[in-house]
Symmetry: C2
Subunit: 420 residues, 2 copies
């Protein structure tokens, strides 16, 4: 029989471990250690994966003196003082095509045509843009002086040999992939993907394709989470569903601990289910529950645990709490586990609020918003209403954060935005 | 022989079709029509895909009167005027477990225990939270009045039958997947992925794994683009490399027009290559080149064309121009082609600039930035320096936009941020 008076687990409960979000990051996320296995990948498949090692440049880039414009390579001092009225007269002694070397060495008052990206000939130290010249037979008039080095990229100016391109623990972005390819790095070591096991709990939960009886709830949470985590880089598997039974839940946790790098238990909505989750974790290993709840709104009943080095999270059953906790905390667990050097989640950007948003004192608030780009600015319309509503998340592009200690944010002010 | 004096194609050239970014969106992107084929997908694989049809709710949700708290279901009027000093005394006539129906109908001054998510019994119109009650044997004292409907979600309150969940042309987000699952929708129609063919051009270009000779450039652009477009939802294929030869390029365009939904020609850096791209497009079909260049910095030499309904884009060879054009214009081409109802790209958010950023008059500027989260705000450090440098993109998280007509943006001001 449920002890009615125990109600919501609070500061009087046996798990006196509520945390601020900052404590969750500093004292829990920081303790999560990365998996140790790597994969050798074709660089073209490494986008959004985490580098397992420092990647350094094997050579100089561009590796030759490169013109950044179409024009004439020459000695800068030959153009000194040149103007429309008093142009410098210079002899054109040749031309090179792209990736073609000029055979000789330029002398004073000589110029060679080079295309954008072409090799600047020996003896030349600048390129004058074609727009600033006028052709007369084998001669050009240069109407504007160039400085030494102008419109020329030196051989090691862009990237020098042994310069770091990608640090261990950095997630490959487009720029990293591009630079590696340009430098001939076609294969890299990345952390393998993190395996996430998702356990669904709650007597009321049925499969999404089941005939639903009165009072039952289809399991949107865990299947949606599985789908979403895959786009965040994880190999997520919705492992099983367990009814509200402490022994069965403990058994499910124990059985799956060795198969996954992260375990997520998606709770039913009632107090009993949450207690079972805590019990199952505590009975499955050490150190067990680190924080039983976090001072956010929504997302408060989130459980943060470790069993050996496996992070185990208990997520609330309320759909809005569930998604906010996943976005703010679970993604950081995954990123750390996958070897990324991160702690706090970075917002996607700032947004301006269309309306005043009040906050609940003593908790960090995450308010659902719909984005509205307008006149070169990104505005956010808060979506109010019951956080237990599925429709609430249907309309939202993400949430804005109202830090603890703020009574709210006024219309027109900026707030951090976290996209789903 | 190259006509040196023709230089960069400008307003005196035969293709007098420079456009503002707004014109590109309004007069080019808007003309792109979506592919017509769809796929039937398991809802769990539909995240980030574009809905091919309106998805509506087949039933009410939650479909029963649901309690949002652990507490006692009762008639709200029985708690009228209740307080700590003068609590309302109410008889507990039963309890229900989660997803269990109460057999009878509640009468005045009766209460039934319901858990969060439980079915509110017939006759009850509110649930009082357990925290506001005190148990005395079979009775409770209620210390706080509840209003009719308080802590109860009505059967059709969250989502009503026939309500639209996802509109045709909307890209499925987490909230959409979740709502569909909760309503028992396990299979949906989405547009098939868009096939993008990427043609590489330029005499100087060699394969990334090739031994590079003096003056040659490894093909980072097209392989990086292929890799990046895959994460944007496209089925991208780097089709081939063509030297600077107008006949061969025309042949490559014609041969691939029927195999892809979008064609991208990644130009070499020289003027000649750009001319060949325009020629190849014009010779391959109608209407041909719509805009030869756009007034952005960087990204100006981007070519926007249509051959029948196939968008063909010519991207500049300069790595920074190349990536900015891809982020701002090519992604919108893909989204429209994949059936998404969009026109202008939405920024990921706003960011505050760490330093003054000047802009070039008459052009919309995209300045590379590195993000720096600080004290609950997202700051951006501009990365200055030559836009031909590969290292420039290595450090950047994305770009900020400086609209035309702005001389720049001052340190501390906000700008739109577009992530790579």
């Amino acid at each position: 029989m449920i002890d009615y008076q125990n109600g919501e687990i609070d500061v009087n409960s046996r798990f006196l471990k509520f945390a601020t979000p900052q404590e969750v990051f500093k004292d829990y996320i920081s303790r999560i250690i990365s998996i140790k296995e790597f994969q050798q990948l074709d660089i073209r498949n490494a986008l959004n994966r985490v580098s397992y090692e420092d990647v350094v440049a094997p050579e100089n880039f561009p590796g030759f003196r490169k013109s950044t414009v179409d024009g004439y390579a020459l000695k800068a001092r030959d153009t000194h003082g040149a103007s429309d009225g008093l142009p410098a007269l210079i002899q054109v002694v040749g031309e090179v095509k792209i990736s073609q070397e000029y055979a000789g060495t330029l002398k004073s008052s000589e110029a060679v045509w080079v295309p954008t990206g072409g090799i600047v000939p020996r003896g030349a130290d600048a390129v004058v843009m074609v727009e600033h010249t006028q052709v007369f037979g084998n001669y050009i008039e240069v109407m504007k002086p160039v400085a030494p080095g102008e419109n020329v990229i030196e051989s090691d100016e862009d990237i020098a040999t042994d310069e770091q391109l990608v640090a261990k623990g950095i997630r490959f972005r487009l720029g990293h992939i591009h630079a590696c390819l340009e430098l001939g790095i076609t294969s890299v070591k990345v952390y393998r993907k993190v395996k996430i096991g998702i356990i669904s709990t709650g007597d009321e939960i049925v499969e999404p394709n089941a005939a639903k009886k009165m009072g039952q709830v289809r399991d949107g949470n865990t299947y949606a989470l599985e789908s979403w985590l895959k786009t965040k880089g994880g190999e997520a598997v919705r492992v099983c569903h367990v009814p509200d039974n402490p022994e069965l839940l403990t058994q499910a946790v124990r059985e799956n601990l060795n198969s996954y790098d992260v375990l997520v238990i998606c709770g039913g909505s009632s107090v009993g289910t949450r207690d079972y989750t805590v019990d199952a974790i505590e009975r499955s290993g050490k150190p067990g529950v680190i924080f039983h709840g976090v001072l956010t709104q929504p997302g408060k009943p989130t459980i943060f645990a470790l069993i050996d080095e496996i992070p185990v999270l208990g997520l609330p059953g309320n759909p809005v709490s569930f998604m906010v906790s996943s976005r703010i905390f679970l993604t950081q667990v995954l990123r750390k586990r996958e070897g990324e050097c991160v702690l706090y989640p970075e917002p996607d950007g700032m947004v301006r609020l269309k309306r005043n948003v009040p906050s609940r004192q003593g908790r960090e608030s995450y308010v659902r918003v719909k984005l509205k780009p307008e006149n070169g600015e990104l505005w956010a319309e808060p979506i109010f209403g019951e956080s237990a509503l599925v429709s609430n998340m249907l309309k939202a592009d993400g949430v804005v954060r109202i830090p603890v200690g703020h009574e709210g944010i006024y219309a027109g002010e900026f707030a951090e935005f976290y996209r789903f």
